[in-house]
């Protein structure tokens, strides 16, 4: 039963990764013959302003996204868990999870209409409460936040379900004992709940960080990297290099670098949480 998994990983993951590493040593526009350039692409990358800008934008996206996803999914899981009515709990769980069933492309398209500068619902509400119209996707300072909002909206339900399953494993007797000792809700959460769902928290944090570094779909649909390159995250930059500028060798160089970066971030996180496996 393990063999199909290994074949799958080999064909769809390891071979493409190795091929990307191989391609990164070439100057290749797909149409012409590959020219071997050794580490030249890596040297060029270190002088590429756009690459560093894309890393910076990715980091900004990542920080906002990870914090929001982690905190909101945990809060929602605790909220759903606290509902005593079984049907109410089920309804809340489904309602929060529902966005996760929608395709990213569809969600991004719907949100474009919500963010629309003139006739979008959000601006109508903001105007009604006196805040005034915002440019949202047309603003270099707001577009990235808009993309984050869509990403969070899509994934928060999924992470909530994982947190919820972890919360259900915490024995009720611990809380009863804590209540007898006079612990309030916040103390119960930080002294009992949070330490006991640590493994799940690490899992969520790692997968969310990895996911945030790979954001692409909603940026392609909502902003196309703009305005003024303000949402050109690294994966989108790789796409532009490969499929708009036909620089497949250089695009692979950045893809390999990004993979290494994600690996280091993950290892650092595991070390931080002192988890070996």
């Amino acid at each position: 039963m393990v063999l199909p998994e290994i074949i799958g990983l080999l064909v769809f993951l390891f071979i493409p990764i190795l091929y990307a590493v191989y391609i990164s040593a070439f100057d290749w526009d797909v149409l012409s013959e590959k020219t071997f350039v050794g580490f030249q692409n890596y040297q060029n990358m270190l002088k590429d302003e756009m690459f560093f800008r894309s890393i910076w934008i990715t980091l900004r996206y990542s920080i906002i996204y990870v914090v929001l996803v982690f905190v909101l999914s945990l809060i929602m899981a605790v909220f759903v868990q606290s509902l005593r009515n079984k049907y109410l709990q089920q309804t809340a769980r489904i309602a929060i999870y529902l966005p996760n069933t929608i395709s990213t492309i569809v969600a991004a398209t719907v949100w474009i209409f919500l963010f629309e500068a003139r006739n979008g619902y959000l601006n109508r509400w903001l105007t009604a409460v006196g805040i005034g119209r915002q440019d949202f996707l047309g603003s270099t300072s707001q577009a990235l936040i808009c993309v984050v909002v869509v990403g969070v909206w899509l994934v928060v339900g999924y992470d909530m379900i994982i947190f919820l399953s972890a919360l259900k494993d915490v024995p009720e007797s611990y809380y009863e004992a804590a209540r007898l000792d006079g612990a309030n809700c916040i103390q119960q959460f930080f002294k009992i709940t949070f330490p006991l769902i640590k493994d799940t928290s690490v899992f969520i944090a790692i997968t969310t960080i990895i996911g945030s570094f790979q954001v692409f779909d909603q940026i392609r649909v909502m902003t196309n990297g703009g305005p003024g390159g303000s949402t050109t995250v690294t994966v989108f930059y790789i796409y532009q290099l490969a499929f708009e500028k036909y620089q497949f060798g250089y695009a692979s160089t950045i893809a390999v670098t990004l993979s290494i970066l994600i690996m280091f971030v993950t290892l650092f996180q595991l070390k931080l949480y002192k988890i070996d496996d």
Partner: protein, 443 residues
């Protein structure tokens, strides 16, 4: 660890599933064309001996598909040597991934279409078959002067122009009348109109703010109308006063408060205007029959306040043959191209340019043959009589050079002053030219 492996496996399977889906949908589309061809083609025992010719393009609209099916079937019935099948691929996929990767894997189509935005990449890579042998003096005479400029390199012609798309401004007559605004003829009039026509419900003016080919395409004429150019025979001219002025004008438009800062779709789509989202929109000749001339008007691009030369940009697809094909396939490709688009009188070409889509042509005989359509309403007349005579070919350049120009426009709009953006782009282009050895950019 096992969970992590499972997750990886699931992701891999998802990737393969998506890949299979794409492949399936493409092959279905291909089969539609092929099966139609073989069922209505000769369909005889010798059909298996025919040389198979594949034609890839981006003509996915219903009328375009109908045109392809009709004439490819007719071509297959007209001779016994070749069997043509086609694959119509959505534009984005066609220009970004499909065509390039087909050449990379040695599975390129025998016949394919290219726009000026991507043509240099293919000509420089040497994957295009010269078409000089089918362009006899008689056939060359069918086209207007300069029609082959963007699809030639070192005197060799690699493409046949299929159509000619030109650009003007469309406006909502009722909105202009209500606001008491005249159709803008100068840059400052356009700025004023954008502000006056702007409201809570609709923008005053809509132009492309997204980085890309379409934005560059519509930017060029604003430089040319001042008598300037982005490139000269000596190289890049991106920080010339004319380019800086055009960048500044676009920046002023974006910041005037009357423009559509984030159109929800490509500005090449006229429905932004027809859905009432804007009062004025820059758009092309392809929309003439989609915008009711009773409600919407067309005018040439506004000129600088101190005068200028009326000019518009002309793009258009070229049909080409692959040099990766065998000699027999190349001969078939050329025979098919000659039959379909070098027709004289231009029966196929007229139907392609006026029924399958609406576009102008670099062939005067096409315009003449279909004068009833090209003069069918006021807007078509405006394009035919006022705008078309001022058309100048789109600049054909490599993807990397195009990116420098596109980045310059984005920088000027959002990140820095027009002069700084132009200087930065000039430096980047000079650096690029120091190693570039391909065709010279003109325009």
């Amino acid at each position: 660890m096992k969970k992590f492996l499972c997750l990886l496996l699931a992701l891999s399977m998802m990737v393969s599933f998506v890949g299979c889906q794409n492949q399936e949908s493409s092959s279905n589309q291909s089969q539609n064309g092929s099966s139609e061809n073989s069922s209505t083609g000769s369909g005889e025992s010798e059909s298996g001996e025919k040389i198979q010719i594949t034609y890839w393009n981006q003509w996915t609209q219903e009328a375009e598909i109908a045109f392809l099916e009709k004439y490819i079937t007719e071509y297959n019935q007209s001779q016994d040597q070749y069997e043509v099948s086609y694959l119509a691929i959505p534009f984005d996929e066609y220009v970004s991934t499909k065509l390039a990767t087909a050449f990379a894997t040695g599975e390129a189509p025998d016949v394919f279409d290219c726009s000026p935005a991507i043509i240099n990449q293919y000509m420089d890579a040497g994957v295009c078959e010269p078409l000089n042998d089918i362009l006899t003096e008689e056939k060359m005479a069918l086209f207007q002067e300069g029609a082959f400029d963007v699809c030639s390199k070192d005197g060799v012609i690699y493409g046949i122009p299929l159509d000619a798309d030109i650009v003007g401004i469309y406006y909502n007559k009722a909105m202009l009348e209500e606001a008491g605004v005249e159709v803008p003829k100068t840059w400052s009039e356009l700025l004023d109109a954008a502000v006056k026509l702007n409201s809570q419900d609709h923008a005053g003016y809509t132009f492309e703010v997204d980085k890309g080919d379409w934005q560059c395409f519509t930017f060029y004429p604003f430089v040319w109308m001042q008598g300037g150019s982005l490139f000269t025979q000596d190289g890049a001219n991106l920080n010339s006063p004319e380019v800086v002025n055009a960048l500044q004008f676009w920046k002023d438009l974006l910041n005037c408060g009357g423009c559509n800062e984030a159109p929800g779709r490509s500005v090449s789509d006229i429905s932004i205007l027809t859905d009432g989202e804007t009062a004025i929109q820059i758009n092309g000749s392809w929309s003439v029959l989609r915008a009711d001339s009773e409600q919407y008007g067309v005018a040439p691009l506004p000129l600088p306040d101190d005068g200028g030369e009326p000019v518009t940009v002309m793009g258009g697809w070229k049909i080409m043959a692959s040099s990766q094909s065998s000699d027999e396939e190349k001969a078939g490709a050329k025979d098919f191209i000659t039959w379909l688009f070098l027709d004289d009188p231009p029966v196929h070409t007229v139907e392609f340019d006026t029924v399958a889509k609406f576009t102008f042509s670099t062939r005067p005989d096409v315009i003449e043959s279909a004068s009833d359509i090209y003069l069918s309403n006021d807007n078509a007349v405006c394009f035919s009589k006022e705008i078309l005579p001022t058309a100048k070919s789109e600049i054909a350049m490599t993807a990397e050079a195009k990116d420098i120009v596109a980045t310059m426009i984005q920088d000027a709009l959002y990140n820095m002053s027009a002069q700084e953006a132009a200087d930065k782009a000039q430096a980047a282009m000079e650096s690029y030219f120091s190693t570039y050895e391909g065709a010279v950019f003109v325009g």
